[in-house]
Symmetry: C2
Subunit: 454 residues, 2 copies
């Protein structure tokens, strides 16, 4: 272990060290699960905050401010005396020598819990990333917010009609929960929030397109709810294009290939189409964070780790992988990449390690495999529009699903203060259609340049 | 006028155009003052939001989120039908041809109100800027926040004792209101907010230095209040260094020259001193925004425009300059650079133009010179500590001044919603010492690089 990360109280040096990489839902649940265990916990993350990912789209669409959906990791864990939080990015794992390698240091571990989750995947077209940002982090959300707001500002200033229309066209690629949320909220902003604020353009003439490669949106949901979601999107003003495969993304727009599928037959005729859109958002592909490639063992086709039923890596039973980074099946079905599953996995790994440590030395002891308990699924579409599958296969859509969604999400927000101000903002937005966080924050380089002018 | 900025409704083309550059307190007051005038108002700003500058230091020190102290300019002016808002940076003024020049367009004017305010001035040492950011915009505030929080994170990871001490040393240069606010709040964070969150460092051992070149802090206030402010700072744990002239700022710290001034005599002996501080904040020098240099007429030594008593530029009576960009004396005293003065100047220019336009053509008509009505001055130092001079020369310090400051500032915050959530946050912070916005948001380039790793 490098001197850079020397661990403090000497008296505790005998306790085994558990390193947790990533403080999302899975990593935090693991850390909390170890609070009474006789271990030293080190939580390592690239950023200083835990992000409440289900509300990221609200930051991206200016409905909430960044601090409302995020809290410093060390603040969350402040009273857990056996946990220490370090800011830093893990570069690789040395599984044999039980070390996490950072750019400028190494951390030895007795147990490791890897919970770094997923990142964007552009189907091998990495150059699309600059034109179509994805939504995984707070920085992503602020970048998307900047682009959306800037597009309306440009449209107001541009005299050319075609150019103006392109600035007022928003293409969201991918009809999963994130794509649906972004498209629905964008339509709401254009129709309601920006009313009366522009003099040249009419924001309600903005086009919002949702481009989905498959035959329906929200394809992990029951078919009936997919259809309901599609109808609710259309009611909000979103143009939903199904069977639309993206073939190119550039600074000016998106090219797609439409599969004109006649159901019941096998005829598929493809036609290409070009969409001039200055704002393109990516909600289509995801892949494992690259750290997974430095672990021993097999990966699935998007790079997730194929773990044993105990979430351990075959042959390395001191290493657990939890959360979205895991590829695991249960009763023939993939465990879904949702917050509940991540929390359950984190808590499971913590229990397993606590049990091992408690049994002192008998490292070969076994424990029951991880079981995912399904808590249902919720996806919001926009104001008063959502779909939900609750335990017992109760299906909701429209307003009841929206209220369920709202209260579940605000209830699980970390921090009491956040809940109050978030509720105030939500209520305010609901009554007035206003979104309070409509700030274009320049990135630093641009700002410096403009300060130099002239 | 370029086609790029063609003005919309043809029926109104006969009305004179008033261009306002900058939507700070002065610019917004001018725009609002023209709401009933038979003119077309164009408000041009480099950013899309009005910033409530007196609370910027709270964003910099993670007490408030950016959207709580800022609102989109076009939202503020949405119901003023004769106003349109454009996002863009003015490069220069063509006073003779009555045009504002942008990078990509030109805007013709019949009347012009310049309200671009001040920016940082590093006494000619522009290379200090990268090491010691100043606090004028929301982007500045977010950069300062990032540096402060990152310093504590680094200190927690560094093993070398001297290096750790340098990360835990914060030097604020300049003992005016901004410097006093930053230093006081930094001390509060170190002593109270971060308690229990670190395992290696004790944040309350952090040193906060306030370096002031003159003989007292808050030198525009009565001497008795300067002394009170100094005492309150010291009580909060700030080391106040007076007569400390900065001679160098670099990545590792600050060099100063201390004038060991024995009052009453003329002996001054200087000695130099080096302060190792990884976080240095600039609150010392300001200068006029560069647009002032493209205006006709004389400037003062920090580049502010020397205007006639009617705030017009001598010889160009269609051009008004208002707010902090103006250098003007009243009864032998400089009109101070405070929000009240800026608002009064903006409103004055609007009245003057409305009067001219009302009198149709008699452009030579005169009006009474601008008179600044003093509303007092308030500076906050930290929790329960502030100083105030109210009209009638009522002087307050400590808790009464702090409450006055708090309510005056929240009352003037734009937007009812902002007032509610800001009060909730303030109350929360007051009761728990917590600051909810402690997020380190990477700048985009860093983020992309770290995503590429490995």
């Amino acid at each position: 272990m490098s001197a850079d990360l020397e661990l403090a109280p000497a008296g505790m040096a005998q306790r085994p060290t558990v390193v947790i990489i990533g403080a999302g839902f899975a990593g935090l649940a693991a850390a909390r699960g170890l609070r009474h265990a006789a271990v030293e916990v080190i939580v390592l993350d690239r950023v200083n905050h835990h992000t409440f990912q289900p509300l990221l789209y609200q930051v991206a669409t200016a409905g909430l401010s960044a601090p409302q959906i995020a809290a410093p990791i060390r603040h969350i864990l402040r009273s857990q005396k056996n946990a220490r939080v370090l800011l830093g990015a893990a570069v690789s794992i040395d599984a044999v020598n039980q070390k996490v390698i950072l750019v400028d240091a190494e951390i030895g571990f007795d147990y490791l819990i890897v919970a770094t989750g997923l990142t964007h995947w552009y189907f091998g077209n990495d150059d699309w990333a600059q034109h179509a940002p994805g939504l995984k982090t707070l920085d992503d959300a602020l970048e998307i917010r900047r682009r959306i707001l800037f597009a309306f500002e440009r449209a107001e200033r541009v005299a050319d009609v075609q150019e103006r229309a392109a600035w007022l066209t928003f293409a969201v690629i991918g009809g999963g929960p994130t794509g649906v949320e972004l498209a629905g909220t964008l339509a709401e902003i254009a129709r309601h929030t920006l009313t009366d604020e522009f003099r040249t353009i009419d924001p309600s003439h903005a086009r919002v397109l949702l481009l989905e490669g498959g035959a329906r949106v929200l394809n992990t949901y029951p078919k009936s709810l997919s259809l309901k979601a599609e109808q609710q999107l259309q009611r909000l003003g979103v143009e939903v294009e199904l069977n639309a495969r993206v073939t190119a993304v550039d600074a000016a727009g998106v090219s797609i290939e439409m599969n004109d599928r006649t159901l019941g037959t096998c005829e598929i005729s493809a036609k290409s189409k070009r969409i001039e859109a200055r704002t393109v958002l990516w909600a289509a592909g995801v892949q494992a964070t690259p750290l997974a490639r430095t672990l021993p063992g097999a990966l699935d086709k998007i790079g997730r780790v194929l773990v044993a039923p105990t979430l351990q890596i075959e042959g390395f039973d001191s290493i657990f992988v939890v959360g979205d980074l895991v590829s695991i099946k249960q009763d023939g079905m993939a465990v879904p990449g949702v917050a509940y599953a991540a929390k359950q996995m984190g808590a499971y790994a913590a229990r397993a390690i606590a049990q091992r440590v408690g049994e002192k030395g008998s490292r070969a002891s076994t424990f029951a495999p991880f079981r995912y308990r399904d808590r249902g699924a919720l996806a919001t579409i926009g104001r008063k529009a959502a779909v939900a599958v609750l335990p017992g296969d109760l299906r909701l859509s429209g307003l009841p699903a929206w209220w369920t969604w709202l209260f579940v999400h605000i209830f699980f927000l970390i921090g009491f203060r956040n809940r109050i101000t978030t509720l105030v903002d939500w209520l305010w937005a609901y009554l007035t259609y206003q979104r309070h966080a409509r700030l274009i924050l320049a990135d630093r380089t641009e700002l410096r340049e403009s300060q130099r002018t002239p």
